[in-house]
Symmetry: D2
Subunit: 464 residues, 4 copies
């Protein structure tokens, strides 16, 4: 890495999960559009062919525009090759395959347990963690061995637990976890500001927020646009929408998305009217942290709250689409579209290189930024990115009324972390029966747990 | 109060709820049997006649045996009379009547929610707290006014919240809360020790324990008899009983109690086999802190786990018996039986007067004795009683696996405390829907909450 | 206050100590140069004539350039007039007069105790605090009464104790304390960067630092220029200068200031070579926090370390110069010079109004930003200023080797705060004999303390 | 180890420093007088002959009285032999010889620094720690290897640092440090109680105290005899004695000791009159924690405060006496006197074996028993000893006025611990110049430090 004239060259970025069709392509695009940094991205993946494919795709970008040639892509067969002296490590993997995810999400449905996402918390989150964490312990050990001073950005879910696993196995790691859910909520606030104040839609960064919570269950305890406190505006908006809901008419179009991922924000707004703080994640995530009978009792309830249960069948289909696109990209039939993704990874890299100085939300160990959560738990708050590293901004307490739901999540995550560290399925079972989403009897829990272990045993070998 | 020759005379004890037929009579008995202290007990009760009746009953004790004349009893019509310069204050009241308790315990049954006790946590605990806490704020203010240096012993449930309310309204109060549930568990361990080691049943005090938790959900993280670690003995005993359960044969008789209050210890032993720590309260209490489908799904599940759902109908009948006894005691038809109750109140009084120095479990604000629970939360641990006051003994962390269940309780209690302090029924509703025992939809919760408010509105006037 | 088109109008700023000739004029200048805000500044001072003079001087600025007419100045005879509905309160006062300060600084010299500043810590700091804090308790009560939601900026020394007093008397106050010492150290680093790297001198804001400590004894635990870690550069620079010192030749000119305030940075560099962290305040301040025999044994030692003992005689003369200037300004003989002072007050005001978003160092209660200092102690760290308020940035622990010196200061300050709150001169005496700078016998301490009380008794009436 | 009929047999105790002539003989005596335990004591010493001598002396005790034959003594040449499966480890060593101690105590006198003890804190304490701590790291490693579950009792000074070193090298060690200074203060209170109340002198254990602080600088924040608060009695006594001091007449005889160790309690009483809390250690220790000019400026000041500067010359002579006694004991010319020493080691052993249950003061890591001192620092408070282990009793905060002096000690100790762990003499030098007792210039400090390193270099090899 060299610093010259306000630019950094010869940067080395290692990408674990570098065969991905999604995050990897997005990163390629964001890197191509950043004229301040250049270097090489090493792509490591257990699916080696995927990494080689992405090497080709990545290197093809420079042909679109020679300005895009700032980064070279190299598939790396070994951790050593990928990580040695890396300046940054990006981790974005799928723990297991969509077959395992199908077990995570859909097996519990036989017992009446529905999960709109199933990758963070709840029944599915427990099992996904059991597969992921042993891998993350290994990543941490390799990073410790080959590039202990690298900054490590994790995008993998279950976010908080993956980051926790990295710190558990290598406490000095300089890791943080990134997620865009808060951004989407800021964007929702922008739409509301525009609508309610009759002004042009502001930019997301102009919405200043204070954030507390744990990934996918983050809460805004303050939100300002310029000097305008957005809480009264949001309150009146939520009340108006709630009345529209009661009339069974549609909500305003600014609440609507569409398809498998988007939601009508009804849960988010209902949570505001109950708790007085702005839940800042997609409704599909938020409901997984609440008592299941609030919003997730059954498909009818889900439909009434206007959000989707994302099926793994859909994910598999969508993957088929991405694989087809990969083929077209490789053959040259299609050209990568180079546009900003809206993710902040590249901005963060620039800031940590001293090229920028800004504040955004990330997942970090709690050093006291949220005083009423346990020290060391992975929490999501604002943090400052600049030369010298990442420092969390003091966020204050989780509000008293929300704390029971956050604590349950933090406590169960801690148990899962221990269970994975100790390779202890009995402890994992206690986490399983204690999770908010588990409404089964002890007997049913045992049956379901055993079935899910069986379904995914290929990826649980370390526990036996 | 005067100290002479190892005895204390002219002690003034104020008893709030002094018209009680139960605790009050027990205290009279224990006081009569203590030859180190003497003085006067002032009985205050909103049911003034009950206080006058107990004055008579208390003063009749000296006729049984002149040695029992160490304490005089005086019914006090006002706080001022009862409390002025009191050395000790005992609080043991029923918040509302059994009619309100009937609403607490049985109204939720319409929605499939069962409660074996319903006075500590869960749906019933929330409503009992709403009635009790405004009274306890008043008690604290009166104590602050008339006897700020008195030691205050609370026996009222919800224990932790009543103690919390006293500290909230008068932070310098010297209050602690007493409960005998841990004693019963120590006694169960004595029976096991005798049975398993083939020795004479030890005395309860010879079982040395470390205690963490919150009232009625206390856990022993250590238990010794002499130098013998009781955990392996308890483990083998629990496993043996579990096998007997599976065979559908009966458990050993040492587990059995009988009737409305006692239980077969099955829950307690199952919790040990899951968590590896000794739950130290009656099974009827313990189940109210666990996810409801574990042990409390429906009456059949309750029956299978061999504990009782104590009905308020039974309580009302039992009260009729006590009222009849009161009449007999007043008329002289029956004579008070003077025997030790096994409660430790009088021993504690003696120790605080410098006549003793011992360690027992009590409910106190968390000053750090349980590092992983919030400071200020009312927790149950060991404490030293001696001249100079009560000091908690360091208890250590709540074990990771148990923490989610304890946290939920502590968090919801905090919300109820705030709701009562602020007289805010909306906040009480959030506590209500967040409680572990509440499995209803938001709509059902609203219906049930409103009905229970209506049922008990006589005692909730301050909230309107 | 009104927000329109990215500007804020009708702002109300109250200035306590508004008759000042120094800070007040600087603020007028900075306000005149800020085109984003406009409004009125209310000047309150116990020296009413001084406030009226400044009203005139302030209002004369618009005559220099009509663009400078954005703020009007009004002398306010009462707190009520000055504070009612103020958006911001600026506090910059002299506690007592320079006669009292003469006692603070020079009376201890009879006992061989020298003080280069004497307004923050040490013997002089104790007495200045005894005069100042009762006033600050009053300010806090008035702010609570008339403008509880205002942001309050304190510039008065002893900084940490004045801010602590405001929070003690009104815990919800939105107050922070500002000091430019860190800026000067950043500027010193800029000079070193330019010198050592052979580049143009960077701007102060381009030096990214992490700050821990207490006002005037702040330490940089990280310092970066772009991606360049400045610690090795600073180390080699300090070693080079240390060798030059030994050769008795002069240090490099970039270290030199001149006159009563500036210093040769020798103490600062010696501290770096001992502790490995960058002390970030003037040497005159730093030495007052170290054991006195390190750098402050006697005037010869002071001379050897190339910093000055600022005499109060000099301050009095300098004041005479400012008073003469005031007369010239009032008469129109001289015109105010409108230039940026380099202070950040106006930038901070803008940011808190939502017009900016930046990070700088301020004095705030410790919410956990420095985990190894007591919660609530006033500490100096980075903080974010933006719409919604000030939030400290996590700063990390005070390094182990520096902690004894910081703790002594924090502990003695706490004692002084208590002594002032309780108006307890006995407690103040304990603080006095415990202060790092006090090397006297108990007998001498008593003599000196009594003499200094007598010298300043006019301002200590509340203690009798 | 076997437990039978309320007695423990086959106990294994390892004694590191088992060649001692003092503590070892005292322990032999106390063990002989305890009829509840029996077993073997393994004596390990780097002076092997001393261990063999003590083996003989120990085994000779049974000849005095056959009841005294409960313990056998075996000199052990290796750690392995001494420690393997030990139930208890006692550590009581002299770090270096009295020649090194002479350097510790008397070399600083050349610079006007006097030390009455010089083994805990101050200049002497720093150097004693530099010699001792590497040994204690080794002890901890050996204990971890051979008897990780043993209870470890340390009697060696510097107490807090030796215990800290054991925990640093083996965090799971079950170690506590014992000291009798608090006992002596309790005894002083007993004499005062008898004198002032005109009653028979109470037993030490009847004085109930709350203790906070660090070893040799412990403070009683409460003291009761029965229900009598001793603070007002102590206050009136101290005032009376202070008046007698002023009249230059003698203090009451109950204050007096005599000879090299004892003191007239004047410092202790003066500290009470200043701080309002009872300092609970000998005056010779207390003065070493206060600013040196308070009580320790020079020999005349020492004389005025009526305590002694214990010279190492005296210690050497006294050792000669003990060596002569050893010869007489070995030859049979003299017989060991079997009397209780007043130390609590054997009682503690019994309690930890489940034979007792009591509370006394010990040195333990801070788990929160003193909330305003750092977690993990070795603090002295009450703790409960019973089956299952030692648990600290909550002690509360160090009072605000005393905290600066305690913090300085705790902070400097932490630095010394780090310096020893890292074998870093530069860090040790920072501790040396930061210590309360060091009043030298930086130049003098360097000279003295270097000289003391040279004097004791034989024992500092690991630092080079």
């Amino acid at each position: 890495m060299k610093y010259e004239n306000g630019k950094v060259t010869e940067l080395k970025i290692a990408y674990i999960g570098g065969g991905s069709r999604g995050w990897a392509w997005g990163l390629m695009s964001d890197l191509a559009l950043c004229d301040k940094i250049s270097g090489t991205v090493y792509l490591y993946d257990i699916d080696k062919q995927a990494a080689y494919d992405n090497e080709k795709i990545g290197n093809s970008i420079s042909k679109i525009d020679s300005n895009y040639g700032n980064f070279k892509y190299v598939a790396a067969d070994t951790y050593e090759l990928a990580l040695t002296n890396a300046d940054f490590v990006v981790i974005s993997i799928l723990p297991g395959t969509f077959d395992e995810m199908e077990s995570d999400v859909h097996t519990p449905e036989k017992y009446g347990i529905y999960q709109p996402v199933g990758d963070t918390t709840g029944i599915g989150g427990v099992f996904r963690a059991l597969r992921a964490l042993p891998m993350f312990f290994e990543f941490a050990e390799k990073i410790k061995e080959f590039c202990p001073k690298a900054f490590v950005i994790n995008y993998t879910n279950p976010m908080a637990l993956c980051v926790a696993a990295l710190y558990k196995a290598f406490p000095e790691i300089k890791c943080f976890g990134c997620c865009h859910e808060v951004f989407h909520t800021q964007d929702f606030l922008c739409r509301i500001v525009a609508n309610e104040l009759g002004i042009e839609k502001p930019k997301r960064n102009d919405i200043k927020v204070n954030i507390v919570g744990t990934n996918h269950f983050t809460w805004l305890t303050k939100a300002y646009y310029n000097d305008i406190d957005l809480f009264p505006i949001y309150e009146s908006f939520c009340k108006k929408q709630a009345r529209k809901n009661e009339d069974d008419s549609n909500q305003d179009v600014i609440c609507n998305g569409g398809g498998v991922f988007t939601d009508g924000q009804r849960v988010k707004m209902d949570l505001f009217l109950k708790f007085g703080y702005i839940a800042a994640a997609g409704d599909r995530h938020l409901v997984e942290f609440c008592p299941p009978n609030w919003y997730l009792k059954d498909p009818a309830t889900v439909a009434a709250w206007k959000y989707a249960l994302t099926s793994v069948k859909w994910r598999k289909e969508e993957l088929r689409g991405r694989l087809a696109r990969k083929d077209r990209l490789l053959s040259g039939e299609e050209e990568m579209k180079i546009v900003l993704t809206g993710e902040e990874g590249v901005n963060q890299i620039c800031a940590l290189l001293g090229l920028n100085d800004f504040i955004t939300n990330v997942n970090l160990p709690n050093y006291g930024q949220i005083p009423n959560l346990p020290l060391g738990a992975i929490v999501e708050t604002n943090a400052r990115f600049c030369a010298g590293g990442i420092t969390p901004v003091f966020a204050g307490n989780v509000p008293t009324t929300i704390k029971p739901l956050v604590d349950r999540n933090v406590d169960v995550q801690r148990m899962i972390l221990d269970a994975c560290w100790e390779r202890d399925l009995d402890k994992a079972f206690i986490a399983f029966i204690t999770d908010t989403q588990n409404t089964l009897t002890l007997h049913e829990s045992r049956e379901l747990f055993d079935e899910m272990v069986k379904n995914t045993k290929e990826y649980l070998k370390e526990f036996f």
